[in-house]
């Protein structure tokens, strides 16, 4: 048997080996800085190997994974998000937990799970990746030892995520019973009449399970509490990598299994999308906690992104859906991580709760202009204002939606964005207010590396917002190598 496929999954293998290495490093010498540095090194090495495995062309790994340009793009993106998370977690954890080293192993396993999902083309790999990711996240959410909120958040996430997983597994079992296959590509085949009902019931349960993980309305109840309870760097990771991975695999599944050929699936997903956009944005209006605002904002954003998914059904060519998803998620990752970077930086010396109330941000412009500028950029980008990556991303969605003639969804997008502007603007406005006397004094002990990381993300959001061509060209060159 040829081992040519091993080259394709080299980043995954490096990450696995790195995990072992980190285990040994920690066993021999407990040093937070050393563990952090090794983690960054492992992640960077895995990232550097992507172009090399890309050069080998897309390949089918044992019928379980399909490593193509699409998967490799997201592998890179997940690794990038993991590096950012490590950098912003370092000082944050230093002040909170006594044994920080194991946290980095959890980040590595979670990233590995996400990378497996990005390439999954078989239900077994889908579940495997999803569970590796989720189980690592449970531990990451309650990693800091103080405070009840992280525990509550982790318990909530554990229970609800478990329910979602079992729903999904049941759905997969039904699909298997009807079609006799667990591979995505074998699912497009016609099913005999008897099995058809089971098949579509299974599809429905699968979508519901994934919608839970994506926190789409009406399966979104856990999101604000978990976002609030989790430590800020972990929330950033959860909002980006976890959701991104689930969406990436969902899109691949939809394209390969041709599930959108059933009109009730299309209607169901369209309704979920519209409700998520509108409800997510409306609920955010009521919040005064910035992490909860971002939670509802993420609900709306995934709702927007479903437009890209539905374009698959409306057009013959799934390339546009892939391109839109890649550009949108890249933008979403950058701006969300930037926002959580700022929150982490400001919460370094906070107690059991992060500095997450809007009031904590009063006068930030005058206390810490750099962080305020980054948070402003992130908020405006999430709102989709030009000059930022968020606008290019939203523009892509508009372009894709117009091409697929999804007019009703586009109206929902317009309405959702219109509502959204208000609460994003409120964050910006709060920062411009003159300083209140009881604002937490944070300017002095904001860690340098967190500020630099957030600053780089903010600059990237603007740079790609003004000149997105390099990113678009990269994405398009990768789509060309998509294994059909």
């Amino acid at each position: 048997m040829s081992l040519a496929w091993a080259n394709a999954v080299m980043p995954h293998l490096v990450l696995t080996a790195g995990l072992m290495l980190l285990l040994l490093v920690v066993a021999f010498r407990r040093s937070h800085a050393l563990a952090m540095a090794s983690t960054v090194l492992i992640l960077v090495v895995a990232g550097v190997l992507i172009p090399q495995s890309h050069a080998a062309g897309s390949s089918d790994v044992l019928g379980m994974m399909r490593v193509d340009g699409y998967a490799q793009f997201f592998t890179g993106l997940f690794l990038f998000a993991a590096i950012v998370t490590v950098l912003i977690s370092f000082r944050y954890l230093d002040r909170r937990a006594s044994n920080c080293e194991e946290f980095y192993m959890l980040i590595l396993t979670a990233t590995l799970g996400a990378m497996v999902m990005a390439a999954a083309s078989h239900f077994a790999t889908l579940i495997l990746g999803l569970e590796i990711l989720s189980i690592s996240l449970y531990a990451m959410i309650c990693y800091p030892q103080e405070g009840k909120l992280p525990l509550e958040a982790a318990a909530k996430y554990l229970v609800l995520s478990g329910v979602a997983s079992t729903t999904m597994l049941f759905g997969i079992a039904l699909i298997y019973a009807a079609s006799g296959s667990l591979s995505f590509s074998a699912l497009g085949q016609p099913i005999d009449n008897q099995g058809e009902n089971y098949y579509w019931l299974g599809q429905g349960m699968l979508v519901v399970g994934l919608a839970f993980k994506l926190s789409l309305v009406p399966f979104h109840m856990w999101t604000p509490d978990v976002y609030q309870g989790a430590p800020a760097p972990v929330t950033g990771f959860l909002a980006t990598v976890s959701k991104g991975a689930v969406f990436v695999v969902l899109l691949r599944y939809i394209v390969m299994s041709d599930a959108l050929s059933n009109s009730s699936v299309v209607v169901g997903i369209s309704v979920i999308a519209m409700v998520s956009m509108v409800v997510g944005n409306l609920l955010a209006l009521l919040e005064k906690n910035i992490k909860r605002i971002l939670a509802f904002s993420s609900i709306a954003h995934v709702g927007y992104l479903l437009i890209a998914l539905l374009v698959v059904g409306a057009l013959d060519d799934p390339g546009i859906a892939r391109e839109t998803t890649m550009v949108y998620l890249a933008g979403y990752f950058l701006m969300t991580l930037a926002a959580f970077g700022v929150i982490s930086a400001l919460s370094i010396s906070a107690g059991s709760q992060d500095n997450e109330q809007l009031a904590d941000y009063e006068g930030l412009f005058w206390r810490h202009p750099v962080l305020a500028a980054v948070l402003t950029t992130a908020a405006l980008s999430l709102a989709g204002i030009p000059l930022t990556m968020g606008f290019i991303a939203k523009f892509y969605l508009f372009a894709a939606g117009v091409q697929g003639a999804l007019w009703i969804l586009l109206w929902a997008l317009v309405i959702g964005s219109a509502i959204g502007i208000y609460y994003y603007l409120r964050i910006v406005f709060t920062m411009t207010r003159s300083e209140s006397s009881d604002a937490p004094a944070t300017a002095s002990d904001v860690p340098m590396e967190t500020v630099v990381t957030a600053g780089v993300l903010g600059v990237a959001v603007i740079l790609f917002g003004v000149y997105p061509t390099p990113l678009i060209e990269l994405v398009r060159s990768l789509i060309g190598t998509f294994g059909a």
């Binding site: 508009f398 117009v402 317009v414 219109a418 208000y422 406005f429 411009t432």
Partner: protein, 487 residues
Amino acid sequence: MNILALIVGLLSAGVIAAFSERVHKHAPRWISLIAFVVALIYTTSAWLDAGSGAEEYARQVFPWIPRFGIQVYLVLDGLSLMLVALTAFLGIVAVVSSWSEISERHGFFQFNILWVMAGVVGVFSAFDLFLFFFFWEVMLIPMYFLIAIWGHENRGYAATKFFLFTQISGLLMLFAILSLVYFNYDATGVVTFDYFELRSVPLDPGVAWWLMLGFFVAFITKLPSVPVHTWLPDAHTQAPTAGSVILAGILLKTGGYGVIRFAVGLFPEASQDFASVGMLLGALSILYGGYMAYSQSDFKRLVAYSSVAHMGFILLGVYAFNEIAMQGAVITMVAHGFSTAALFMLAGALQQRLHTREMSKMGGLWVRAPRMGAMTLFFVVASVGMPGLGNFVGEFLALLGAFQTHVPLTVAAAIGIVVAAVYGLSLMQRAFQGAPNPDVGEIEDFGVREMTVMILMMVGLVWLGVYPQPVLNLSAPFITSLGVAGL
């Protein structure tokens, strides 16, 4: 002329101004002033070199996002050139009017002024619809900051309202732009945002009507016209003086410009069908704005509502669909830029001295500050539409043209001029005439700095009023290209 250099120059002057505060507290305002003076000289020299009536003064095209056929496509035709020059001039006015008003964060303040103006120059010169939308939104954010940070007591509310109105209507325009591009792609197989290409898209009349509406709503929100004008009195009242000058002087004009260039320029037939609604909204704005202006007791709110009324003439003129009325609309844009900027500058100066905008707390100010009184009288009279001054020419031409298409609406609009005289003179009476208010002590009159820009604006208005032909020649080529009825 290099338009991109002008825009980038203003943007970088903004960045330099922001950092120059560390060198000296007052360095930012000097940098800002110099940047606008240079921009004005640069623009007028381009005008003088080519003379009025040229087809275009500058053109620059670079690829930007090839994936969607998006280009950096900048063109200055006469209409654009005139408005860009006005922008640079009002930049100077804005800087001078806030010379001593701002007490903190000078650097960031000038940064925002320069960035708004750079965005406005981009709006006036962009001929790629994506680029246009880009600049349309770019000028929004610094304006938001100007109101939200340096505004008066109720600034948060006003800034947010301003942003929401403009942004939401902007989303409709984005929707319309993308749909237009898509229909063009459907017909020709080419994805492009090029204005000139999109002008010739064969559209189903029903579709064209809806797309036109998307643009129209965005522009009349900015203009503003009844019924989407409600952000304006709040934003004007709460903004710092420079903010009001910029808002009234130039930001409103982007709405008028958009209506002419895009709503009418891209969809001539659909706009023609829509003309009576456009004229009706114009006439309503004139009357309602005038009525509301008269009922105000706040100096700035009065001027703000008078802006709504004057902007009504632009709508009326454009949708009369003949050359003379459109010329009237264009002259009104420029003349209103001068007269209202001056009035807001006066309002700001009064507020700085008296710490109130309430006219009941003024009265008899002429005695205390005769130069300010004289200036107010001049610009009030100009704004009322006194023959011999720019506003008269604009409104007269707009009415003259409108009379040929719709007599009753024109008559209603003409009544608006009478209303203007009523609120204008009542403003003068309440603030400057009558017995001096005993609560008002000595106030400082206008100095050389303020008088210089005031006199410049007076010269501008007299010139427009006595010899508007060069300006008419500037906008003539584009208006002719719209194919509207001649004289």
